[in-house]
């Protein structure tokens, strides 16, 4: 079977002058007056207008198999949208090529082509046509779209009288009922109210399970974790990492946190009394990677330290920080007696119900109020457990508490009891 998307050495170059919103002849003339020498010499140095070139995307290659749901992550301006624009043919690449097998639908923005003067009904037809649906197809799905958007009573009202929430709902409804074999979505689920977002995510799940190929850009890591099995991380125009969602997202998050922390991750040692050496999960938490937590079950974490001179009134502190250096949990133990040699401090937790992401432990040892060693444990702890949180980052919170939701009918009698 052919891959649904095949990308080979794809690149997109912008001249900085080209990114300017528009040129007028006056600008050109002003440019000549301001720097006549540069204009005259531009034939000599070869670069047109002496402008700088920027590669928004460079040497990107990957393949997507039919039915795969792949997430694209990266900082703002890393090139995700440029990649999507090239693959959806909005703009041409400057280098390399891509091959696409199957019908493509791209959703770079919700409501592209909506016109405020047209009614809801008219906009459904117009927007559908712009997305690439035939008139017959739209007519067939019309009722479904209206029901999904919950705008039935306003169908013949001009769109300009709709609330922005209604407009968004209608726009997403049209887009969601568009059924190409390959769907490219750019950050569009970031809009609308919560209930509707949930509905949208459900719809995306449905599309994914129906065997369609999806390319999904989002900054909501929980959405990415939930929808995508595979994630590609684009950094400064290059494909930095491509693999299983949990790994790539964690690597990305920890890189972002390092950006936040600067040089904060370090150690402060006072004297040569004792020193923390390493940390790891027991059994390497499944043997593979000892810093990787993928289960919500019981877990033990070990901290090894070497003591050089005896410690009599030891005080030990432990703290868990998240990627933003917010304290998640801390605990202290007094009255430790440590003889010279190697020691292991262990903590066993029935469960560490943490929101997936990157964390770090901080362990310290004191004697009589005097610090001996304080260590921000490297490498970071990566949490990649099954998720029970709200799909939107701002509502998911810091804990990922395993929970079960039930709904039951309740009689008056039971309620009164």
């Amino acid at each position: 079977m052919n891959p649904a998307i095949r990308v080979e050495g794809l690149g997109k170059r912008f001249r900085i002058g080209q990114q300017q919103r528009y040129l007028t002849l006056r600008d050109r003339l002003a440019g000549i007056l301001r720097a006549p020498a540069r204009v005259l010499s531009r034939g000599a140095n070869g670069t047109s207008h002496g402008r700088k070139e920027i590669w928004a995307l460079r040497e990107v290659s990957f393949e997507v198999q039919p039915g795969e749901v792949i997430g694209l992550i990266g900082r703002n301006g890393a090139g995700k949208t440029t990649l999507l624009k090239i693959l959806s043919r909005v703009t041409q690449p400057s280098a390399g090529w891509a091959e696409i097998c199957g019908s493509v639908g791209s959703l770079l923005e919700v409501g592209t082509g909506f016109h405020p003067e047209l009614t809801g009904r008219e906009n459904i037809y117009l927007n559908g046509a712009i997305l690439g649906m035939g008139q017959r197809e739209i007519r067939r799905k019309f009722d479904e779209i209206v029901a999904f958007a919950e705008v039935a009573e306003f169908l013949d009202t001009p769109l300009k009288h709709y609330s922005s929430g209604m407009q968004t709902r209608l726009a997403f409804a049209v887009a969601a009922h568009f059924e190409p074999q390959i769907l490219m979505v750019d950050e569009v689920l970031a809009v609308g109210d919560l209930a509707f977002q949930k509905k949208c995510l459900g719809k995306m799940d449905e599309v994914a399970r129906a065997g369609r190929t999806i390319l999904f850009v989002s900054h909501q890591m929980n959405q990415i974790r939930r929808l995508c099995a595979r994630v590609a991380w684009i950094d400064a125009g290059h494909l930095r990492m491509d693999g299983a969602a949990a790994e790539v997202v964690s690597a990305y998050e920890s890189s972002m946190s390092r950006g936040n922390l600067g040089e904060a991750l370090d150690r402060r040692t006072f004297g040569a009394t004792a020193r923390f050496l390493k940390w790891h999960f027991e059994g390497g938490a499944k043997g593979s990677n000892p810093y990787y937590l993928d289960s919500l079950g019981e877990v033990t974490v070990h901290f090894d330290l070497r003591v050089s001179t005896p410690v009599y009134h030891g005080h030990h502190g432990i703290a868990l920080f998240n990627a933003n250096r917010e304290l998640i949990w801390g605990r202290a133990t007094d009255g430790l007696r440590l003889q010279p040699g190697l020691h292991r401090i262990s903590y066993t937790f029935p469960s560490l119900p943490l929101r997936p992401g990157a964390y770090f432990w901080q362990v310290s040892l004191w004697q009589d109020e005097e610090p001996i060693d304080q260590w921000d444990c490297l490498p970071e702890m990566i949490v990649a457990t099954p998720n029970f949180q709200h799909p939107r980052d701002e509502w998911s919170g810091v804990l990922n508490v395993p929970s079960e939701m039930r709904l039951a009918e309740l009689g008056e009698l039971e309620c009164a009891r």
Binding site: V69, S88, T91, A129, R226
Partner: protein
Amino acid sequence: MEYFDRQGHTITGIDNNMRLVGTPPLAKEPRVFMAMSISQSVPAQAPPLRIAPSRGLNIRLRELWAYRELLYFFIWRDIKIRYKQTVIGAAWAILQPFLTMLVFSLFFGKLAKLPSNGLPYPVFYYCALLPWSYFSGALQNATNVVVEQQRLITKIYFPRLVLPISAVLSGLVDFAIAFSILIALIAYYHITPGRAALLLPGFLLLAVLTALGFGLWLSALNAVYRDVRYVVPFLIQFWMFASPVAYSTALVPQRWRWIYGLNPMAGVIEGFRWALTGQGLAPGPLFAASAGGVVLLLVGGLFYYRAMEGTIADVV
């Protein structure tokens, strides 16, 4: 309520190790959603679409044909919104040329007493204003359409050619509405059009192609150089005086006629008068030459526009 993890398992519970327990994926169970998609599925092994930096020139008319429905929707939208929130609505399509006709009849006709080939002034001027107002409107719309639709262009793919074509074609509805007044005028003045009236669609077609030919160049240029949008109104004004709208071709000195005849709109307007009233100059070799020029301009415009297409989303 059901929860799904990303493999599509329904999460029904949690075992002792707090790992998720799920049912098998649901994908095998076709839902309404899936069943509907089957009917519209594309042959599985359609040749892959190749995306690469463009090389060589190709107008890709077949692709344009595939997007004809979008073209229809753009035209439909233009027509729908043109007179939204106006009191008299589509009557504006009639009033605009009609009022200009009254002004021309009064100043150029009654006061300046310009010759009108023996035709009543209202008929003489309306015959010319009808194709002219279509042409000037179409040219202006086509010039601005790429800039006006830049949001669409930067967010979604479709053959960009659809835009200027729809801008040029949507004016035809106004033309048709205003045409009814022309019929009324001709009836009022008891003028009987001859068989030449059957050539009217041909003249109209030349006006459409002229507007499109120039529109293609101007809209692509306008995307990069916004100067164009200020130049075009002036160009249109100048062009009107270079066409027999306000006067008769008979006023043009014989030795300049050949240059004058190369203006395709001069041929269109003169042709309209001739076809409807039998008065004025019948189309001759100059008309054919100007029509040939329009075709060249149009083909060149198509290639230029297609060449711009790949990067238009970056520069607009």
